[in-house]
Chain length 312, copies 2
Amino acid sequence: MATGDIPQGGDTIAVIGGGLIGTSWSALFMAHGYDVVLQEPAKAAWPAVPERIATALRQIAELAPDLPAAGQLRLTTSLEDAVEKAVWVQENAPENVPLKRAIYAAVEAAAPAGAMIASSTSSLVWSELSAAMGDPARLITAHPFNPPHLMPLVELFGPDPDRLETAAAFYRGLGRTPVFLQREAVGHIANRLSSALWREAVSMVAEGIASVENIDAALVHGPGLRWSVVGAHMAYHLGGGSGGIGHYLSHLGPSQERRWQDLGNPALDRATQDKLISGVGAEARGRGIDELEAARDRALIAAQLALSGQRP
Amino acid sequence: MATGDIPQGGDTIAVIGGGLIGTSWSALFMAHGYDVVLQEPAKAAWPAVPERIATALRQIAELAPDLPAAGQLRLTTSLEDAVEKAVWVQENAPENVPLKRAIYAAVEAAAPAGAMIASSTSSLVWSELSAAMGDPARLITAHPFNPPHLMPLVELFGPDPDRLETAAAFYRGLGRTPVFLQREAVGHIANRLSSALWREAVSMVAEGIASVENIDAALVHGPGLRWSVVGAHMAYHLGGGSGGIGHYLSHLGPSQERRWQDLGNPALDRATQDKLISGVGAEARGRGIDELEAARDRALIAAQLALSGQRP
């Protein structure tokens, strides 16, 4: 494949890492007709892989029943074996700079020249990861939102606009919604937003304003529901009446700035951690992680089917 | 009606204020069989009221086609006339403490003794509003999320647990999801969360990390979609693997605290306002507020129909 070509069904994709993110990506690639070679160095992790992929494939089929027959999966411990015929490399190794740099060096040596390397990193940035590469622009960060096979978002950053456009076209072909960072930032966009919101959610628990369960219910039935439809900036535009965000800013900007100063800055100390843990326990009402996750996934699929093509 | 009785269909509800919130509440009450007397002192605002209510009633019918025949609407300029036979008073006057206090004094004098007074205030708190009342505990804050006839959330605060329970039962009967504050806070819960998230969204625009449109897209297709299904605390519980939030906090708490320190604290100065306004303009792609609002409402209805009874 030449640089700039978009991978096609039947091509081989290398997935580095067989954890939650790697298996979820694998299922998505396979559902779209790609063959996947998944490199997972720990053989102890292998048995869980096909089962997780099968579950994800069933969920993808609910969302998109018309996809082609699934591509093939092959597991390997060898990086070189995984990337040898790959047109795309999706890297999901642990968040460790030296480890990832060693992977990229091996991929640069073994993969076809045109194969791009996309890192799913959530907490590291491109400049750090690419610094030791022969061709740094071959790497992009392509951060999915968990679980990648159900969440449309992929956040892209890299220095080469052409390669980014190729990546965006590739992920769009997988039913994803790529967004672009203009400059790299720790946490990209979505995790910075999540972190900012959670800081206030933790603060309200620490300050005794509301319980974990009531805060989560307020989010789910209020701003969360609205943000599944319109973003925060657009919500303020629509909250400004016929004058839109310009009217909002000129009339309520100063009170918004005062409100920002009133927001909390909590510490995750022992007392606050205990409140969070017992509060989430009350919210879970005896349901285990697996049961909650399955319910979350069913609801995510229902919401996406309902919202597809419906948003402003 | 005695204190503690939940209003029944056929009862009369007084709605104070004929703006967006007052008309939206009126439609919701009417759709559930209540007669509404809406007090709006500015007769110039009257002509828009029935049209807005009719639109809202049509949207409610899409969400809940089996509701009883709608109650009656009557407009009045007189507060005394509005509340004389009311079993419930929903106050949506401008956010002005002396004005609201004067309203409560008039309502206390003219309304039946058992009628509760619920303020839709978004930015004021109960202690400020109730200070001059004969029976302060008769007032609660009951903050809806805009638009109230489509968004389930109602945030409740007041000093009397029995009256709060009555209020919660009343709003549940209207298909709402009431949540409780343990102590009052400016912005209640949802607007504090919104404000915290928007601060970071504005900061990323100001810092040139991403465009308004890409930030909104990241939210809608990432955390917003997930928060329409599970709250922020529950999301970290599910992000902690089989160890849940306890595992998350002990392993990633310190990095979350560092990330909080890295979040922005922007000013809404002229330059930032200009970036927000032009960015939202690009996102709107020529569509006016009415068109965007109609699309938002259609998508909200679709999401709620899909999610009803589906969330963990």
